[in-house]
């Protein structure tokens, strides 16, 4: 790995942590962002030979120095300065120990005084360091427009003094879904490339900060289930049904089951609890043969009423394929309309076609799936399937 690749990787993982570290010390948002960028630029210059022992602490220290320098230069007489004076820039606390600060950064972005449509882009930018250019396609907005709206939101946070704090109980409930969604998105982003420890840490601290909110527990359980299998598919892609359950991390599975039970006891079902329940059912089925796929399909039906996303509907199709056969699955599949090419759709379609023995359709969907696979392991899986149907 080259120095710049190393810095890139650390940027993905640590940008939000370093920014949260500065914000928690009451520095101005825009200035803090500049200081974090400057710290990463310095890392690019200085990490040629080897990484420092704790790269995040290094970045926090450099960014903190930077922001204090700017504040001093401008001689701003604000409470911020006194805080900067008392902080010892040589020994920042270990930022990895403070997931709460990052959680506050998420909640900051969900403040009701910030326009709803900019909250998600703002989270992605502040927590993950994504640029307006890289998000422009995702939000179907020109980069310049998105950039202006982001700057406006950040100025508002600064000028109106919206603080990075956890909201009171009532507000917390209202703002929680957006934060859960963002942590889930963060997990999904890192799943195939790096260790998604940041998302795991955040999900864990959200369970604590929310005093055991059922959906927060549901999300953490869901991530634990996904994590329990992640190492299995690290080198080659293996569909769930073909994995050996004894390869799965039993400790994570048992923690996830406990969380899910604790959440269910609160009797307030929700999207993430259902998704975790589906994972739990898959795991149990692999070990004991029960519950049945019919039960899993019913869980999906309930999930779709809460979150009718294409991905959940495809999960329903896959479970129906096992429970009721390919015709029933094909009927459900035909009702899904895509607005853009989507890998899971092609994958499920290929498996349904395989069961119908419609090799033309298998080939069509497998080729589409291969073309859409960004991960080489997944692409290899589809290439192999195409090979197999050509030379049976």
């Amino acid at each position: 790995m080259t120095a710049s690749e190393r810095v890139d990787l650390i940027f993905r993982e640590s940008y939000g942590k370093v920014l949260a570290y500065l914000l928690a010390r009451s520095f101005d948002l825009l200035r803090s962002e500049d200081a974090v960028s400057a710290a990463f630029a310095a890392a690019l210059m200085e990490w040629n030979d080897a990484l420092p022992p704790n790269p995040e602490a290094w970045l926090c220290r450099v960014a903190l120095h930077r922001v204090i320098d700017i504040e001093r230069r401008e001689r701003r007489i604000t409470p911020l300065e006194s805080l900067a004076e008392t902080a010892d820039p040589n020994e920042p606390e270990d930022p990895t120990m403070l997931p709460d600060e990052r959680l506050r950064l998420f909640f900051l972005c969900t403040h009701p005084a910030i326009a709803a449509e900019i909250q998600t882009p703002l989270m992605l930018q502040l927590v993950l360091g994504m640029s307006a250019e890289s998000m422009s396609e995702l939000f179907l907005l020109p980069a310049a427009t998105l950039g202006q709206r982001l700057v406006r939101a950040k100025r508002k946070i600064r000028d109106a003094q919206i603080l990075p704090e956890l909201p009171n109980a009532e507000e917390f409930q209202q703002r929680l879904p957006a934060v859960l969604q963002a942590i889930y998105g963060l997990y999904c982003r890192d799943w195939g490339t790096t260790e998604p420890t940041e998302a795991m840490d955040l999900a864990r601290s959200l369970v604590i900060a929310s005093e055991g909110d059922p959906e927060a527990m549901g999300l953490f359980a869901l991530l634990l289930f996904c994590e329990s299998r992640r190492t299995v598919v690290r080198d080659v892609y293996i569909p769930l049904s073909q994995q050996d359950p004894s390869d799965w991390d039993q400790e994570m599975i048992s923690s996830a089951e406990q969380l899910l039970q604790a959440a269910a006891a609160r009797k307030s079902p929700g999207r993430f609890q259902l998704e975790a329940a589906i994972q739990s059912a898959h795991v149990q089925r692999a070990f004991t043969g029960s519950p049945s796929f019919a039960q899993i399909a019913r869980l999906y039906e309930a999930l779709i009423t809460m979150a009718p996303t294409t991905s959940n509907r495809l999960g329903h199709v896959a479970a129906t394929l096992e429970a009721n056969g390919p015709e029933a699955a094909l009927a459900l599949l035909s009702r899904i309309e895509l607005t853009e090419p989507y890998l899971p759709y092609e994958a499920v379609s290929a498996h349904v076609a395989l069961r119908l023995n419609d090799l033309t359709a298998v080939r069509k969907h497998a080729e589409a799936a291969r073309a859409l696979s960004k991960d080489p392991k997944t692409a290899a899986y589809w290439a192999e399937m195409i090979q197999t149907i050509q030379n049976p």
């Binding site: 005084a113 326009a115 406006r152 100025r155 508002k156 000028d159 109106a160």
Partner: protein, 119 residues
């Protein structure tokens, strides 16, 4: 008689606050406020300058349901930038002071009589 002078600025005028001409912009305002103060017509502590409209949050309740909007009350060409309260004999005096405000050119100044003290 008390009058409120409500200062309205265009987005171009607000933008001056963070531009190269920021010094001139703020200089004109402090000179104006000093002038009011020295003439003894301004009620001290009754006015304020406001941050840019983008920093505003607007709240409305409909049948007990609160809605929160990011931004000022309406997206108009001119936005409220600040206000002062003057104690002067007549509307003509208040208007005479209003037309000297830095935002009168390009923006607008609204002169509004203030409700008499109920006592």
């Amino acid at each position: 008689m008390k009058y409120g002078l409500l200062f309205y600025e265009t987005s171009a005028q607000f933008a001056e606050r963070e531009s190269e001409s920021a010094g001139q912009y703020w200089g004109a305002w402090s000179a104006y406020i000093d002038q009011l103060d020295e003439a003894g017509v301004m009620v001290r502590g009754a006015g304020a300058g406001l941050q840019v409209p983008g920093s505003a949050t607007t709240l409305r309740a409909t049948a007990g349901e609160l809605s929160i909007q990011d931004g000022p009350i309406a997206d108009t060409k001119e936005q409220l930038a600040g206000l002062v309260v003057l104690e002067v004999p007549s509307l003509d005096d208040a208007m005479a002071w209003a037309k000297l405000a830095p935002c009168a050119e390009g923006g607008a100044v609204e002169v509004r009589p203030i409700l008499p003290d109920p006592s």
